[in-house]
């Protein structure tokens, strides 16, 4: 028997969609492994988020609304997670594959002496052995990698890879006790939001991305943002656009930036170099708008419209908004 624990990432109670995906997947995995499903919510705003998680098919939602979690980087979070995992027993811990989630997972896996599987998009179960399916080498290979026979396994799970489905009889809420006092060493002095998107880029269902063809910073706000808003998505960028300083690096998609797999990816003025491709090739549908009909992006997109993005994008935004009215 093995249990499954979902780590609920959030910002001051602001929920991330991937949290519900993990909660749903925790239940499905736990059923197959004959164990129980848990979620752990920490820090400011944890109470409200925990409440919303009880509507998902979990057995227990563990909560600690401890200000230290937000005042210090990582250490309190890892201590809480370790304590909870040891109390729950042999388990697989699911963590979102986001910037913060990757940090949490690598520390927690080392702390628990556990295996770490990254960027997981599926699970395969053979008896009690859990294997993770994940794209590797920039997406050119899909690997199936098992956790060895040790007490814990930690997986970072790609946002949008699993469905979020409420249900169950209502999870029990439990308050986590504060771990034994250890000096926390990394103090967070201040925090600045640059991309004031409610939605993390990596988990947005739609990404509208801009590149060198946009020629400057302004089209990202005047052209791409309205289209992304109309589609309920987020904006991204190629490395060329980030290097030029048109957008912060946090929006960069590709080899040296983020990997996204939204349902719909719209690439505007992006030629589609291999370095960009590896960050978005697993999107459900890829639409490109480019002046050049022979751009490399034509090799791996579903539709390439050759034309002037500055004309096409506003017209498309209007069509979408009108269709909703």
């Amino acid at each position: 028997m093995r249990h499954v624990i979902a780590f609920a990432e959030h910002r001051k109670g602001q929920t991330r969609k991937v949290t519900y995906e993990l909660a749903t997947q925790a239940h499905e995995l736990a059923q197959k492994l004959g164990g129980t499903a848990h979620a752990i919510v920490l820090g400011e705003g944890a109470g409200a988020l925990a409440e919303s998680l009880t509507k998902y098919p979990l057995d227990v939602v563990h909560v600690a609304e401890d200000p230290d979690v937000d005042a210090y980087l990582l250490d309190p979070t890892i201590d809480y997670l370790e304590g909870a995992a040891r109390a729950i027993g042999s388990s697989i811990v699911l963590v979102p594959n986001t910037m913060y989630g990757r940090d949490v997972a690598s520390r927690l896996a080392a702390r628990l002496g556990a295996g770490l599987n990254a960027d997981v998009t599926g699970f395969a179960i053979d008896g009690e052995r859990v294997a993770c399916i994940a794209p590797k080498l920039g997406g050119v290979t899909i690997t199936t990698c098992a956790f060895e026979d040790c007490e814990y396994g930690v997986a970072t799970v790609r946002p949008n890879a699993f469905a979020a489905q409420p249900g169950g009889a209502g999870a029990r809420l439990e308050t986590l006790a504060k771990p034994d006092a250890k000096p926390y060493r990394m103090r967070i002095v201040n925090e600045v939001e640059e991309a004031s998107s409610e939605l993390g880029l990596e988990e947005a269902p739609v990404v509208v991305s801009g590149g060198r063809g946009l020629g400057g910073a302004e089209p990202f706000t005047t052209l791409l943002k309205p289209l992304a808003d109309a589609l309920g998505g987020a904006i991204g960028a190629s490395r060329a656009a980030a290097d030029a300083g048109w957008v912060p690096y946090s929006l960069q998609i590709g080899q040296t930036g983020k990997t996204v797999s939204p349902k719909l990816y719209i690439a505007v003025g992006i030629s589609g170099a291999i370095q960009h491709k590896v960050g978005m090739r697993s999107a459900g549908t890829i639409v490109a708008i480019n002046k050049d009909g022979t751009a490399p992006i034509s090799e791996f997109s579903d539709l390439l419209v050759v034309g002037d993005a500055f004309q096409i994008v506003p017209a498309l935004t209007k069509l979408i908004n009108d269709s909703k009215a």
């Binding site: 980087l73 990582l74 896996a109 899909i142 967070i188 739609v206 946090s250 549908t285 539709l303 390439l304």
Partner: protein, 258 residues
């Protein structure tokens, strides 16, 4: 102050990467290996610190590579690192994050350090989990994704990137940091640096030398295969903005995306 920079060698960016069906490991032979580009940024950050902190600061490279590849580290020595420690042992071939981090921690403790600097990722399909795991094995703070850092009076103040912006974090040394590409473009080696690098010491260690006892990976690759293929795009020339927009709109309708 003693700075240790972890460096990994990876297949060249543009080389076609594949896994050997027999060993289920990344094929590294027959292709040029280069310094992991992310680690060059780590070295750049360390060298900038050395410049600020003065000559009694040393920068030591720490790497786990087959003995045959160790000369590739001369490039990093030419950039300005003082020496290198290379852990090379068949027992560690194919190690996962856990074993890799445990082994690197063994060597780092042996060398001694005030600060360990890591690149944010490796460019060869690994998990990006080593910096965090290494901090955990060393029992020091792991300040990840730093894009700007300053050290004074034994305290680091770093700006670190987050999903939505950045935050400022302080912690006391000893510590581990990982850096992003925003720390600055890695410098080119000067001719003097290249000549000097030939005389710099690359110390070779076995797992036993480093006191590494943990060599059992926690994960096992069972199988691998190609992803579902993507087909070439339908290409449509737009007569004007309205026509282009309509083409996309109809396509999204067809796929039930709007």
């Amino acid at each position: 102050m003693r700075i240790v920079v972890t460096v990994k060698l990876v297949p060249d960016l543009n080389a076609e990467k594949r896994i050997d069906p027999a060993t289920k490991r990344l094929v590294r032979t027959g292709m040029e290996t280069v310094l992991n580009p992310y680690d060059e940024y780590a070295l750049e950050a360390a060298l900038q610190l050395k410049e600020k902190l003065g000559d009694d600061t040393t920068v030591t490279l720490l790497s786990m590579v087959p003995e045959s590849s160790k000369e590739t580290l001369r490039k990093a020595l030419a950039m300005g690192a003082d020496d290198a420690h290379v852990l090379s042992d068949e027992k560690l071939s194919g190690s996962d994050v856990f074993v890799t981090a445990a082994a690197l921690a063994g060597v780092a403790r042996k060398i001694g350090f005030d600060l360990v600097v890591c690149g944010g990722l490796a460019d060869d399909g690994s998990t990006g989990g080593v910096p965090g795991a290494l901090a955990e094995h060393l029992g020091v703070p792991g300040l990840t994704n730093a894009r700007h850092l300053e050290i004074s009076d034994g305290t680091i103040t770093a700006q670190r990137e987050t999903d939505s912006g950045y935050q400022t974090v302080t912690c006391a040394l000893p510590a581990l940091i990982s850096v992003t590409m925003a720390v600055g473009e890695p410098r080119y080696a000067s001719l003097k640096g290249i000549m000097g690098a030939k005389r710099k010491n690359i110390a070779l260690l076995s797992a036993a030398d480093a006191g590494v006892t943990e060599t059992t990976s926690r994960t096992e690759l069972l199988s691998f295969g190609p992803p579902p293929a993507r087909t070439k795009a339908r290409i449509v020339e737009a007569a004007d903005g309205a026509a282009g927009a309509q083409t996309i709109f109809d396509f999204l309708r067809e796929r039930k995306l709007v």
